[in-house]
Symmetry: C2
Subunit: 478 residues, 2 copies
């Protein structure tokens, strides 16, 4: 057994003065040949290790460099220094692994996010990324905890799919055929019968359709898994591979759907506030520092913690798409021709429109409902007006769309008709339509892009900084 | 708002007699034009709805068929019938969706698992698959709960990877290049610079290497995500797409690793026993029924519940690979030439060998350690004997290998040497080697195939029956 250590988070939180403990971790700084700041990733807070002058030989002292790994046994004592209440007086110190100070890319100073993206395999060791990924962990756990408490069944919908009906975006092809000279049919097309699955297959863009199958048996299910878009979008908000949460609920209408989504988002934010306060305070301070470079009017009006508290304590605004367009048309921004894109009923709102609504007009999350049917998917429930569908998008300040959902069309005839209009292959989707043939019920669901909510909660601005190893066009490192 | 229902599980569990409630669900059976068995997926237990004779017209009565969906409001009353303590006396009954009895594939009788695999989109509505997927949910939740309680960080390692060094098996290629006439280099090879990521990419076979990067910052991380094998294995234990859990821990040696794995497996089984007792009892009974067709000596010695209790209450046997080979060589089975495959030191044990060890010799889960280095991966820590590595596999009765893990080689020189011997590209893997260059520490980890543990806990025998939509060679439906 090697693992007899106490985690630094537990040590700092507990009443441990006078105990002899063993700790292990990595050196963040070493001052005056006496004071080691040791971090083990359990918290951003370092443990101060105190080495007595003369206790270690010079050769050992030289090896205590930033990034080196140590095992230290010693007594926990009250600290007289600033910044910590306890420290460990080293009795035994072993260097587990060296770190050549000349070569180690991380130094105890601020590194740019761009530089750290290049060394994503090491950036977890910084305060910022330590905090981000502990918050991400807590948000992910809170997702599972929320749905488990509500009695939802976690369904693992398939990643590889032969269906391309979801229509959510461009897809990656999955194949075991040779890249050159694949087997061909007589007409010169590729003979996918020879491919692994005997047909052409892709990476999923959504688990919704399969999720609906589960909801028609368990009433309430959710998915939480990776999804893919083969779109050449090099933005701060898009990834080719990202994680999505998709609950799907029988016996829900659009209002039930909105209520659940709002409750869910508040629950996971509250969980992070309760369990990652120190990380969030660190990230709040980071945001303040970062925004110092910006002119006053570009800075966030609220600090990170205040923003999250505001979301927790206020209802999301709920407006129809038609109302949203009216607000835009009557806005000073529109009258001063500040919008780049056209505003009129029927448009797919652009980021500038969504941001105006949430950041300027309402200054809070907004749920927009009942979008024009022509800009939405075939499976959304048609409203009686013949023009709109029972869709809902949740827009968040600084992020834009964070949730997209709808009540689903449960009426077989209307669904089939809409599929034909939108050229969705009705026969291939017979399994999906069976849910409407046999015991159909009103039902609804939504998708939440997990990285978008991590962005929102951490105050980061580039989505590549909140996923461990980002996959974007021309970029698939590690 | 539509969703004003009480879930049947809550109704049956609570003290609800005398209350007026609304329930919604699907009809399982309808007897004597009076007694509806209604199921909403929250539990395998149906709620009995009682309709008074003459209360509904004939046209409505005819529509109450297996699979139809209903909304019922009425009073909860004590039941005089067998099999339930309470029932609902219908005051208002609405048919939400019809189910044509002539066409609905599920009838209130036993269907074969093979038939149900063909209609995997409907099989969730059966008692067996309802129970399986509720147990699967609980096991998944328990995975997250266990690691969260232990302070592990949940890391989403990438699904699309440009690395093929994991060496765990054949890979699927991920591409956006056209299937015919892809862009070529001058030498006739495919020009992957034109592919989405600017290089050739695959679906991951393991998140371990990226997991190690996380462990070198957070000390303890875990992954839980889909993994892929493009292997043409049409067996009852293999899937092309499956979910895997991979914890990775700094400051752990092999013994710490075994301790964690055993504690983890017991924790998630205990969780299912505590939260899914009814589902497990149903599955136990199913197993008894299924095994009635088998000769006595092929039936399970223990019932499902007893088997799980046995695992919970007994330590896993721990033996070295060398001891395992000795046991096999000295076994009656070997002496009677009952093994199909050769037994000698150095072999990669076959299923028949593993099953002999766990099912005949020890009759409990077995952890086999210190395998010959030549049959294991490059990253496993080399033992001082020069022949073996600090690997560990956990073998379970009826399943075989359920966990594969090891202490990792933390010594840079030995690791590089082994990579060269095994033709792993050292330069491409420089990011991985950085963990050994900068603050390397003893560390370990393991992988657990999630569907394997679901098989073990549910007593099912075909892995296609414990994943929602199985992906296997020539099969990618739904």
């Amino acid at each position: 057994m090697f693992n007899n250590r106490v985690k630094i988070k537990a040590l700092l939180a507990g009443d441990t003065i006078g105990q002899e403990v063993t700790v292990m971790g990595w050196v963040r700084t070493f001052r005056n040949n006496q004071f080691i700041a040791l971090n083990d990733g359990s918290t951003n807070n370092n443990l101060q290790i105190v080495v007595e002058l003369g206790q270690l030989d010079d050769a050992t002292l030289k090896r205590i460099t930033t990034g080196a790994s140590l095992r230290v046994t010693g007594e926990v004592v009250a600290s007289v220094g600033k910044g910590q209440t306890v420290e460990v007086k080293a009795k035994q110190l072993d260097i587990l692994g060296d770190s050549d100070a000349e070569k180690y890319p991380l130094q105890p100073k601020r590194h740019s996010p761009e530089f750290l993206r290049e060394i994503a395999h090491l950036r977890f060791r910084t305060n910022t990324f330590g905090a981000i990924f502990r918050v991400r962990h807590s948000l992910a756990f809170a997702v599972h905890k929320f749905f488990n408490e509500q009695g939802f069944v976690y369904l693992h919908t398939p990643i590889i799919t032969s269906s391309d009906a979801e229509g959510a975006g461009e897809m990656f092809r999955v194949t075991t055929l040779p890249a050159t000279n694949p087997p061909l049919n007589d007409d010169g097309s590729v003979n996918f019968k020879e491919d692994f699955f005997g047909k052409s297959t892709n990476l999923t863009v959504s688990g919704q359709l399969e999720g609906e199958l589960g909801a028609m048996a368990f009433s309430e299910i959710y998915t939480f898994g990776p999804t893919f878009r083969a779109e050449n979008s090099n933005t701060t908000r898009h990834l080719a591979e990202f994680w999505m949460i998709e609950p799907e609920m029988a016996f829900y209408d659009l209002e039930d759907n909105m209520d659940l989504a709002e409750k869910f988002i508040k629950y996971i934010i509250q969980y992070a506030m309760d369990h990652n306060r120190e990380d969030l305070e660190f990230l709040a301070q980071r945001l303040v520092e970062e925004e110092k470079q910006l002119p006053q009017d570009k800075r966030s009006e609220l600090g990170l913690i205040e923003k999250l508290e505001f979301v927790l304590n206020n209802g999301f605004e709920r407006i129809t798409y038609t109302e949203a367009i009216d607000i835009l048309l009557n806005s000073p921004a529109y009258k001063k021709k500040k919008f780049q894109y056209e505003v009129k009923w029927g448009i797919d709102m652009q980021s500038e429109h969504e941001r105006y609504l949430v950041e300027k007009h309402f200054k809070k999350p907004v749920i927009v409902t009942n979008y024009p049917k022509d800009i939405k998917s075939f499976y959304m429930r048609q409203n009686d007006d013949g023009k709109t569908v029972a869709a809902m998008d949740i827009l968040a300040p600084g992020i834009g769309e964070i949730v997209g959902g709808s009540q689903r069309e449960e009426r077989l005839e209307l669904l089939e008709q809409r599929m034909r209009e939108m050229h969705v292959p009705v026969e291939e989707m017979s399994w999906y339509l069976d849910t409407r043939r046999f015991g159909t019920v009103p039902h609804a669901g939504f998708g939440l892009g997990f990285e978008r909510i991590v962005l929102f909660v951490t105050g980061m601005t580039n989505i590549r900084d909140v996923i461990a190893f980002a996959r974007t066009p021309k970029n698939c490192e590690f």
